[in-house]
């Protein structure tokens, strides 16, 4: 039996119009990315409440990534602009509290960027894996 390598748990919030479609395209093109990344579909990146991100960490996620349409391409015109401000402030605050900034990311992935989606997920997963388990924003009660 092989020693299983450490696989960080990662939640990826993808907007329905660009990034979720980008993820579909990655699948269409049979581009591989780690299975420890699970996608949650939201209508727009601006639907992602900071509470969801904290919730994910509480429930044992080691990294959270938000994917949305490129700025200017939001299906809802301006949703991702709000996302950008909200997450800039939230991530800055998390870093201020001493939580590793590498655990959170916002990436703009269009419906045409299947390759970018896969590459981003591979890279983010490796980045989070390098940090090891999330110890600074964890709720031990939720650990299995």
């Amino acid at each position: 039996m092989q020693v299983t390598e450490y696989k960080p748990k990662i939640v990826a919030f993808c907007c329905n119009w660009c990034s979720y479609a980008g993820a579909d395209l990655a699948g269409n093109n049979r581009l591989n990315y780690p299975d420890n990344i699970k996608i949650i579909r939201v209508p727009c990146s601006c639907r992602v409440n900071p509470m969801f991100i904290l919730r994910a960490f509480q429930r044992g996620a080691d990294g959270v990534i938000l994917c949305g349409c490129h700025p200017g391409d939001c299906h809802y015109t301006s949703g991702n602009y709000y996302t950008r401000r909200r997450m800039a402030l939230l991530f800055s605050m998390l870093s201020y509290l001493g939580i590793e900034k590498e655990r959170t990311r916002v990436e703009w992935v269009s419906a045409a960027e299947g390759a970018k989606f896969a590459a981003t997920m591979n890279e983010f997963s490796a980045q989070v894996a390098a940090l090891g388990e999330n110890k600074r924003l964890e709720d031990l009660r939720c650990k299995p």
């Binding site: 429930r59 044992g60 709720d139 009660r141 939720c142 299995p144």
Partner: protein, 341 residues
């Protein structure tokens, strides 16, 4: 009575910590005293009292009662109770020692609260007599002698020594273990300190405060007092007073979904909160006036009524210093019944 030189205090603490976890007030980074587990290098605080009371040791802010493990459609109930480890709380002031009596009345009455009882059985309380009571102190209002606290072991700290006297079996057992580090002594120094402290107590600004007009059977007298409305008008409805109070014992029981099961926990609740004792039909106390009244009526009338005249307040003064709007039980006692200052 036995004593221990202050220079040997560390050795004394080290000895105590050998058999059980020892907690004592230490000065925190914020310059205020709080309880910490003793370890080499930690020093007993000189502060009068800790920000949070010693209630936490027996009735912690949150504790897990039980757990449920959910696996698909099956639910397994897990009893998470374990026998508590022995521990010692050192430096409890007279007011806080009294608070344990009040908590015991509530939690140890049948059916006894096994979680509380477990910790109570394993905890040894070493009290410490006050020497410099603060302007906010009014323990004497409730018949507490700050110079002579109760406890398993009672201590008096003078300039050069710690005087100790066991008051219970648990206390005697502990003192026996400390025999090598303490010596038998007379009570002169302690008596002198008690006299000074009593003198000081008598001169405190709140020394004249009396609870005589309150007590069991006074519900009708105070319940409809118009002063409640004005007293509570600035109340924010926060829980500061209840959470720093050594005698507040209300709690809520909550289920926390961990994702693979449920942890049933109990946590402090506050009668000042709008969702306190909220039931299916809503909240029995609809406005902050009623919630405010409840807290003070409970301390001053309901609790004595149900417990042989013992008041639910020990006069520690924590709420006087912590309330964001400086409303407190002293102002309430003075204003009710129409003899405002």
């Amino acid at each position: 009575m036995r004593k221990c030189s202050l220079t040997a205090l560390d050795a004394l603490f080290a000895k105590m910590a050998e058999s059980a976890a020892l907690y004592l007030p230490v000065d925190g980074d914020d310059g205020r005293a709080h309880y910490a587990q003793w370890q080499e290098g930690l020093h007993l605080s000189d502060a009068l009292n800790t920000v949070r009371s010693a209630k936490d040791f027996f009735f912690p802010q949150t504790e897990n009662l039980m757990a449920f493990k959910v696996n698909g459609k099956t639910i397994e109930i897990i009893d998470t109770r374990t026998e508590a480890d022995d521990f010692i709380v050192f430096g409890v002031r007279a007011c806080d020692v009294r608070s344990f009596d009040i908590l015991d009345t509530v939690f140890l009455a049948e059916p006894a609260d096994s979680y509380y009882a477990n910790r109570r059985a394993h905890g040894v309380i070493i009290s410490l007599a006050c020497t410099r009571p603060a302007e906010t102190c009014f323990c004497s209002t409730f018949g507490i002698d700050a110079s002579t606290p109760a406890g398993d072991v009672v201590c008096w700290k003078t300039d050069d020594a710690l005087y100790m006297e066991a008051k219970t079996e648990k206390g005697s057992a502990l003192m026996a273990a400390l025999a090598d580090l303490t010596e038998e002594c007379d009570t002169d120094a302690v008596k002198a300190q008690q006299a000074t402290t009593k003198e000081r107590m008598a001169k405190l600004p709140l020394a004249d405060l009396t609870a005589d007009k309150f007590g069991g059977g006074k519900t009708m007298e105070f319940f409809s007092d118009p002063a409640w409305a004005t007293l509570s008008e600035a109340c924010l409805g926060c829980g500061t007073c209840t959470f720093v109070c050594p005698t507040c014992q209300c709690y809520d029981i909550k289920d926390f979904d961990t994702g693979h099961g449920v942890t049933r926990l109990r946590c402090w609740d506050s009668c000042m909160y709008s969702d306190f004792t909220k039931m299916a039909h809503g909240n029995p106390r609809l406005t902050q006036v009623e919630r405010f009244r409840q807290r003070f009526m409970h301390k001053l009338v309901y609790y004595p009524e149900n417990n042989g005249g013992v008041f639910g307040c020990v006069g520690c003064g924590r709420c006087l210093t912590r309330c964001p709007i400086s409303m407190n039980i002293v102002k309430v006692m003075k204003n009710l019944g129409g003899d405002a200052k």
